[in-house]
């Protein structure tokens, strides 16, 4: 039997600073090798914090992480020293909306990729440079030999995004974390990057967690979707299930807000209000203040979790009785 690549069990993340933020409130996730999942949610819902938890990128002194996180057999929350360094970049790699977070402005693209390969795989510099050239070719940067010697600021936006992907994949990670890597791009460039990621994911057989607020983007790149609201997954399922049979009122609202099936001249079925501030730990359904089908009880107790089959889950009182949903 294949072992899951990623297992998150009841993961919570709380920031204790000037202001307490309960950013992640009980996330459960199982991802098999080679699987692709999109986390779909609005800003502040906890998407980036979830990804950073998998890489242990959160500020240690002000962050309280609870639950269990396993990636490729390792207990991520207790990693340190060399094991943590190998985890970051060797096993799990991340790409961002702003490529300058990943790229170093003072080194050429070729040197940066080569250096990462030498560090993680202990190969010669020569071999590192050869890998760098191969990666730049695979991400379809035009004239890759010449681009090896280019600095990040000498490249256009789409090109920098490709260079960042080349760097992230150079050490053949088992898991790629993508935090809205195409949000700042023109749609014409976005689709190029999405297709590239889809192709490389297949070619390298790696698993991918792709964070986005755009349903169309999730449809293009992933097999499954987890809808996140106020630090929780409120619904998970295959892309087809989420698009065609959404069960959670928030998922339905998001689809309507994305103008899925909107009719010109008719009012949009907009969700009223705004997401909660997350200053306290949720003790009821976090969506209740905005929910059009709220019931008695929704505001006093945590809603039940209805699990249908592995990977299909809805966190709503109505989901238990499908007739009402």
């Amino acid at each position: 039997m294949t072992m899951p690549l990623v297992e998150m069990k009841d993961v919570t993340v709380r920031f204790d600073g000037a202001r307490t933020v309960h950013a992640v409130n009980g996330v459960n996730l199982t991802l098999m090798p080679g699987e692709t999942l999109s986390i779909l949610g609005e800003s502040g819902s906890g998407k980036s914090v979830t990804l950073k938890t998998l890489l242990r990128l959160l500020p240690e002194n002000r962050t309280a992480i609870g639950g269990e996180v396993r990636v490729a057999g390792a207990d991520v929350l207790s990693l340190d020293g060399r094991a943590l360094a190998n985890h970051r970049g060797g096993v799990v790699s991340m790409i961002f909306q702003d490529p300058m977070l990943a790229l170093d402005p003072v080194y050429t693209i070729g040197d940066q990729i080569a250096e990462a390969v030498v560090r993680h795989e202990g190969v010669s510099r020569q071999a590192g440079l050869a890998r760098a050239l191969d990666m730049l070719t695979r991400v379809r940067i035009p004239s890759p030999e010449r681009r090896m010697k280019a600095y990040p600021h000498e490249m256009s936006g789409g090109m920098r995004q490709r260079a960042m992907i080349a760097l992230a994949l150079a050490c053949r990670p088992k898991l790629l974390l993508a935090d809205e890597p195409t949000t700042a791009l023109d749609a014409t460039v976005q689709i190029q990057i999405l297709l590239l990621l889809r192709e490389l994911q297949r070619e390298f057989g790696m698993a991918m967690i792709f964070v986005t607020h755009d349903i169309g983007v999730a449809v293009e790149v992933s097999d499954r979707i987890a809808v996140m609201y106020a630090g929780e997954f409120v619904e998970t399922g295959t892309v087809r299930q989420i698009i065609r049979e959404p069960r959670h009122p928030y998922t339905k609202g998001l689809l309507a807000a994305n103008l899925h099936g909107a009719v010109k001249g008719e009012r949009l079925d907009a969700i009223p209000g705004a997401p909660p501030a997350l200053e306290t730990k949720p003790t009821a359904c976090s969506f209740a203040p905005r929910c059009p089908v709220r019931q008695e009880g929704c505001e006093t107790a945590r809603p039940p979790v209805a699990s249908f089959d592995p990977g299909r889950m809805v966190r709503c009182i109505h989901a238990v009785e499908p007739a009402l949903a």
């Binding site: 689709i191 449809v219 892309v239 698009i243 907009a270 705004a274």
Partner: protein, 345 residues
């Protein structure tokens, strides 16, 4: 020749509310050791279009194609190098002065935070414009309260708040109220909902529709989101490197895009159907910038249908037989010499 329409309109069409003719704005490109002018950015390069009273014109195109520059020219935030702006047939600088234009044509920007003064309460921010224009303080404050209610913010709760005490969606509502304080005829919305979360964006889109109906407004709606543009617009204008590539009724444009660039833009939208995901990117590379644009049709280096006629001469906007649909592509112009074009009638 085209067959005559089956029935002619009963009345002659009204003149457009807003009309733009051959608008041009070039920015000098500074560079070199002494900051000398080393080139020119052709941000807007001969743009013409009309907007009818009560309609919504959407403007789309890749980053840098001149959408915001066009908007800023329309409200005279920058001065055109060439071209005419007419409001109700009165020409700016001739029988229409700048102050009047600015009152009738208001603008709302994307960045709701940057456009509000952090030290003004919401009622003062909204009342500011009318007061500068001579309205008495008490009357301006009453107007501010009325407008807050109109954009869905309860005056009692929100009048005394400062910008940092509001969410992004609430700030954008205040910016809309501020624009409405001048009782404008036209409101230009430049990526005005783009920074909002989807659920909040839907609320603001509903608000814009309500206000339009109630106040008889005319909108120019600039956005990179083609779903939103389709939903809100009556007509859509597609810009490419400072020029108009295609303009027409929204349904015609989305169902029958004629310019290869319009087709590419639409094909670049992510699919919402898991069984029909995009298989091939319609364009390669990044959008070019309008410094030294290509000769002839500016799209020719990226166009799959490009032929020698395309780099030789600029196609210019050509009126198609269907209603109010114009396109700048040799392949659509009879007798242009492009192999896909019809022979002249």
């Amino acid at each position: 020749m085209n067959p005559a329409p089956a029935s002619l309109p009963e009345t002659a069409p009204k003149p457009p509310l807003l009309s733009v003719n051959g608008l041009r704005k070039h920015f000098p490109l500074k560079g070199g050791l002494f900051g000398q002018t080393t080139g020119v950015v052709r941000a807007v390069d001969g743009v013409s279009f009309d907007v009818a009273e009560g309609e919504t014109l959407g403007i789309v195109g890749e980053s840098g194609c001149g959408k915001s520059t066009t908007a800023r020219l329309l409200v005279d935030l920058i001065t055109p190098d060439d071209g005419q702006i007419l409001l109700e047939s009165r020409r700016l600088g001739v029988d229409l002065d700048v102050r009047e234009l600015r009152r009738h044509v208001q603008m709302v920007f994307q960045d709701s935070y940057a456009s509000l003064n952090p030290r003004l309460t919401m009622e003062d921010a909204i009342a500011f414009g009318p007061r500068v224009n001579g309205m008495a303080a008490a009357k301006a404050t009453a107007l501010a309260h009325e407008l807050l209610a109109k954009v869905g913010l309860e005056p009692r709760r929100f009048a005394g708040r400062y910008p940092h005490e509001l969410s992004g969606g609430q700030r954008q509502r205040v910016n809309i109220a501020r624009a409405l304080a001048f009782s404008p005829k036209v409101v230009i919305l430049d990526e005005a909902v783009s920074a909002l979360d989807k659920s909040v964006e839907a609320q603001v889109l509903n608000l814009l529709a309500d206000l339009k109906k109630e106040l008889g407004l005319t909108y120019i709606f600039i956005s990179h989101d083609l779903n939103v543009v389709r939903y809100i617009s009556d007509r859509v204008m597609v810009m490419y490197l400072g020029e108009v590539a295609e303009i027409g009724p929204v349904e015609t444009l989305y169902a029958n895009p004629t310019h290869p660039y319009t087709r590419a833009l639409l094909a670049a939208m992510p699919s919402m159907d898991p069984d029909r995901r995009t298989e091939e990117a319609p364009l390669t590379g990044d959008p070019p910038n309008p410094i030294n644009p290509p000769s002839g049709c500016r799209f020719h280096p990226r166009c799959r249908n490009a032929e020698s006629v395309c780099s030789a001469g600029s196609p210019g906007l050509f009126k198609l037989p269907s209603d109010r649909h114009l396109v700048a592509c040799h392949a659509a112009i009879p007798g242009s010499g492009h192999s896909l074009a019809e022979m002249p009638a």
